[in-house]
């Protein structure tokens, strides 16, 4: 079991509901493969630093999960097949990244509790 995190960008042409549906689809793929989702963040619509597929904005979604290495392959194959995904990046968290990610989660939790 390793800790991974993935960020993917969805095309901006989707409606809010369609975007949520796409995110659910990929979370479904992860959970079906026996991955445990630790954290997810929706960064919402962001401007891209350079155009991708002639689009200048995109929905960013961030997911942290614990899974076996084979799961990442399956996830990335699905990313490539889905045309709503314009860019993705999956990385394995090393010990420093894991520490940082845990801190980030706690920070977010405490800020959301205050609000």
């Amino acid at each position: 079991m390793n800790q991974y995190e993935t960020v993917f960008i969805l095309t901006p042409v989707l409606s809010d509901a369609q975007m949520k549906e796409a995110v659910e689809k990929f979370k479904g793929i992860l959970t079906d493969e026996g991955a445990e989702i630790v954290n997810e963040e929706n960064w919402g619509m962001r401007k891209l630093a350079y155009p991708i597929d002639k689009k200048s904005t995109g929905f960013y979604q961030f997911i942290e999960f614990n899974a076996e290495p084979e799961v990442v392959d399956k996830l990335e194959v699905n990313f490539r097949r889905d045309e709503r995904i314009i860019r993705f990046l999956t990385i394995k968290q090393d010990k420093f990244a894991a520490e940082y990610a845990a801190k980030r989660r706690n920070l977010r939790q405490s800020t959301t509790e205050e609000v």
Partner: protein, 89 residues
Amino acid sequence: MAEKKSEIRYLAPQTVDVKKKKYCRFKKAGIKYVDYKDPEFLKRFLNEQGKILPRRITGNSLKFQRRVAQAVKRARHLALLPYVTDMMK
């Protein structure tokens, strides 16, 4: 003649170069992980064209220069930072 010594004058006051010691800000601040998700922070290590600044300017240690470079490249892939640009700052 003791006065001869003071006859040599300089137009500009002689500057004794006190070299500012460069230091690695990650080591100093105890940062262990360079996050690719924070483009504003990574911008400190880029020039106006979006190129990664060399170690001799930033003063990063080799270990953290590598991590900064890795993080910048990841951020570029995710379009959080541009590959090429002008007048970024």
